[in-house]
């Protein structure tokens, strides 16, 4: 599918999948950044060629914060409600129920959430080593994928033990949505005739 001019629907799905991949995959994010700045960079290059001696020391622009698209989040909520009754469970007042009652409902929610996650995401640990094992982090490790805690001093290589393996999403497979779809309704009211 190498469509040079994707449809609007195609662009929505591309945006959604790109959004999650940018979040989860640092290299990909860097590549997107390059593409986004590509036009400007190319222009700068031609300018640089004409005035070879000009120093390229533009002042560093303030970072722009990107707006998270609500559609994918709403869609995920809809899937969790449909397949796991997630909203029902969280919105219910559980104070008056016994642990056994809550446990029974939790089984259903757990099973559904797990099925939903496994169907729509490929999730694997960031580190494959067992928790508690010692690891050495070389200089230039990915700080977005590994968080240093505790006695954070000195310089790389850092030696420590894994307290949590972390999770990363390798692949996102959310259903594509029709343009007319109202994502804000995450579970329609049901009226039995």
């Amino acid at each position: 599918m190498t469509d040079s001019n994707p449809s609007f629907l195609g662009r929505i799905s591309l945006a959604v999948s790109a959004f999650f991949r940018i979040l989860g995959d640092g290299e990909f994010a860097a590549a997107v950044l390059r593409v986004r700045d590509g036009g400007a960079a190319a222009q700068a290059q031609t300018q640089a060629q004409t005035q070879t001696q000009a120093p390229s020391q533009a002042p560093k622009a303030a970072p722009t914060l990107k707006e998270a698209s609500p559609d994918a989040a709403l869609q995920l909520l809809g899937l969790l409600q449909r397949d796991a009754r997630f909203i029902d469970f969280v919105e219910e007042d559980i104070k008056r129920f016994s642990d056994a009652d809550i446990g029974a409902a939790a089984r259903l929610v757990h099973e559904g959430c797990r099925a939903t996650l496994r169907e729509h995401f490929t999730i694997r640990p960031v580190r494959d080593e067992a928790e508690g094992s010692r690891v050495t982090l070389q200089e230039g490790f990915d700080a977005s994928a590994i968080r240093l805690t505790g006695n954070v001093v000195g310089r790389a290589p850092f030696v420590g033990s894994i307290s949590h393996r972390g999770w990363r999403v390798d692949d996102v497979r959310l259903p594509k949505l029709a343009e007319s779809h109202n994502a804000k309704v995450i579970a329609p009211a049901e009226v039995e005739l």
Binding site: D88, E92, A105, A178
Partner: protein, 619 residues
């Protein structure tokens, strides 16, 4: 054989469809590149996802039920109905608009398969569809999904194989071929599902299968799908120094599958709930069936678990307060599934059949005896002589009959279908079968390992299309039945009794695709311009009969009556009402359907004889 790049295999199942394909340009000999197409389909209103399976459900929504665009597919905005996962889930809450098990209706001899009769319990305002039409819609969806994913390789230019149960009669086969034609399948061949399962096993082994079977092996394929159970026997013989596979027998049509097991469990649990004072309504029973399915899978795959909790969620938003809690125990599972569907019986056991009340014609004719092992015993018993006619296995056959074998002894078993993910069920069938074998002093049968239980049929079908081009081993065998028409006997009729009939063989056992039977000597008088009906019979055991063989009597197990066939001679060039002598000529098309033609005396004309699928058979 053709220049198509892909060989596409389609499993048109009772509850699920799947599409697999072999890229022939990237395959050589027994090294094949095989993939499964994720099928784009609606999974919710206006939501499209790619899933490996397309649930065989069709939902006919009310015009006000969905928003505009909710039924749009990536390739069309013109759909007024839904097929696949959304149809299944939506239809669960509104069954009057849901078409399910269309394949079972397609081979239901009691109804007109071309008439708009589904959903069978729909109110008058729902525009019903025919079993044929719903199959056309599933097949069309698969074609469109392929074309959307492969714009460079149009579906109609590829080699297509569609699978059918081995037990499908000629009429059901022809209807499937007709549906494929209507769905735009140009080059289409039919393949029996148990054969497809074996092809898949061969393909997966990548050449190693030759080490797992040997000459003289008789492979029993046990295929339990969502809605049907299909049995076949395939012999391994040697011809010109090469191993060759020969399908020697197929079983009767058994309308019984994994879905019946889930439903049976749900009813057991619902009865238990009712005894505790909780009455499950229709919606809860469906949720219970769903919960029972996963509980069944847990109990069948984890022998140490004894009970699995079941939770039926409330329908409203109060999840904790309104849910019903119960459990499925191992004892219930054993009693319902193992003893109900796979009872440990001896080899002389036969399925029980009761006379049906007249009203059952309204629904599907489910198997009356749920005991799959009893059906298996009947199949092997009926086919005890199946090897006598097969070159290379006559000695095996002679040995067996010398030792007084009461049933055909398989030496290996291949399982297919999701229910056999459970080792417990596999072990139950193996131990039952090996018990029968031991009782007759035969060696135990081996289990052929490594089958892909869910997608084997689609995969095997794709591989078969590749094999047909001359690569790899092919299963031979041809038609698994001989066919007969009834003619009135010359014996004097007894008043008050039906006149005695004789059965005339028109197509012998084992006709291969693309072959013709010889013309029989007998002629029939056809009245020009008027349809003439013949009673039609099939036999899965009479391998020796040739065209023209006339039977005066036969055992109840030997011949089964099929739907009537009907010949009409058009009036062109003849006077209406004139009686023209014709011969009946049978051939098997390249696609794998049986065709009967009426050939008028002294001409080259051929008139097609139709299978009567309007549901007035005496079945």
């Amino acid at each position: 054989m053709s220049g198509a790049r892909y060989s596409i295999g389609i499993d048109l199942g009772t509850t699920h469809c799947a599409l697999s394909y072999v890229d022939t340009s990237a395959s050589d000999g027994e090294k094949t590149t095989l993939a499964v197409l994720p099928i784009a389909q609606l999974t919710g209103p206006g939501a499209i996802a790619d899933l490996d399976l397309l649930p065989s459900f069709l939902y006919l929504p009310h015009p006000d039920e969905l928003g505009s665009g909710d039924l749009h597919l990536p390739w069309t905005g013109e759909r007024q109905f839904a097929v696949g996962e959304f149809a299944r889930s939506r239809g669960a809450a509104t069954p009057i608009r849901l078409v399910s098990s269309a394949k079972s209706w397609l081979c239901h001899p009691g109804v007109d398969r071309r008439a708009a009769i589904l959903p069978s319990d729909a109110p008058p305002e729902v525009a019903r569809v025919s079993p044929l039409e719903s199959s056309v819609r599933y097949l069309t969806h698969l074609r469109e999904a392929w074309d959307h994913a492969h714009p460079d390789a149009p579906f109609h230019e590829q080699d297509i194989t569609v699978t059918i149960p081995a037990s499908f009669d000629p009429a059901a086969r022809e209807l499937t071929a007709e549906a494929a034609q209507a769905a735009g399948y140009g080059r289409m061949t039919l393949l029996e599902e148990p054969q497809a399962a074996l092809y898949s096993w061969i393909q997966k082994s990548g050449g190693q299968w030759r080490k797992q079977v040997k000459v003289g092996d008789i492979i029993l394929v046990v295929d339990v799908g969502g809605g049907t159970t299909d049995l076949s026997l395939i012999a391994v013989v040697e011809r010109e120094g090469n191993l060759e596979l020969h399908r020697v027998a197929v079983g009767e049509h058994i309308l019984l599958g994994g879905d019946n097991m889930d439903l049976a469990l749900a009813h057991v649990v619902a009865r238990k709930l009712a005894a505790q004072g909780t009455q499950a309504d229709a919606w809860q029973l469906r949720a219970l069936t769903y919960a029972c399915r996963s509980a069944k899978e847990t109990l069948l795959s984890e022998p140490t678990t004894d009970t699995v909790p079941l939770v039926v969620p409330s329908r409203g938003s109060k999840l904790i307060g309104g849910s019903i809690r119960t459990e499925l125990t191992r004892a219930e599972l054993t009693q319902t599934i193992l003893d109900g569907f796979f009872p440990q019986v001896d080899s002389a056991a036969r399925p029980v059949s009761r006379t049906r009340a007249g009203l059952t014609q309204l629904g599907l004719p489910y198997a009356q005896d749920a005991g799959i092992t009893r059906h298996l015993a009947a199949f092997l018993g009926r086919q005890v002589g199946a090897l006598a006619e097969l070159e290379g296995l006559r000695e095996t056959a002679a040995d067996a009959s010398a030792q007084g074998a009461s049933f055909l002894h398989p030496t290996a078993v291949l399982f297919n279908g999701g229910v056999f993910k459970s080792t417990l069920l596999v072990e139950r069938i193996m131990s039952t079968l090996n018990g029968w074998l031991a009782a007759e002093g035969a060696a135990p049968a081996r289990l052929l390992e490594g089958a892909d239980l869910d997608l084997a049929v689609a995969r095997g079908a794709a591989y078969y299309g590749y094999v047909r081009r001359g690569q790899g081993v092919r299963i031979r065998g041809g038609t698994a039945r001989a066919y007969y028409i009834a003619i009135e006997s010359a014996m004097p009729a007894v008043p008050g009794l039906e006149p005695p009939i004789q059965a005339l063989c028109v197509a012998p056992f084992g006709m291969e695709e693309g072959t013709e039977a010889e013309l029989p000597a007998q002629e029939f008088g056809l009245v020009v311009g008027e349809p003439v009906h013949f009673r039609f019979f099939g036999s899965s055991v009479r391998r020796q009969d040739q065209v023209g063989t006339l039977l005066d009597f036969w055992g109840p197990d030997e011949l089964q009556e099929l739907e009537e066939i009907q010949a009409t001679l058009p009036a062109s060039g003849r006077t209406s009402g004139e009686v023209v002598p014709v011969k009946l000529h049978a051939r098997v098309t390249e696609a794998g359907t049986l065709e009967l033609e009426a050939v008028p005396r002294g001409t080259d004309e051929r008139w097609k004889v139709e299978f009567d699928v309007r549901g007035n058979a005496n079945a």
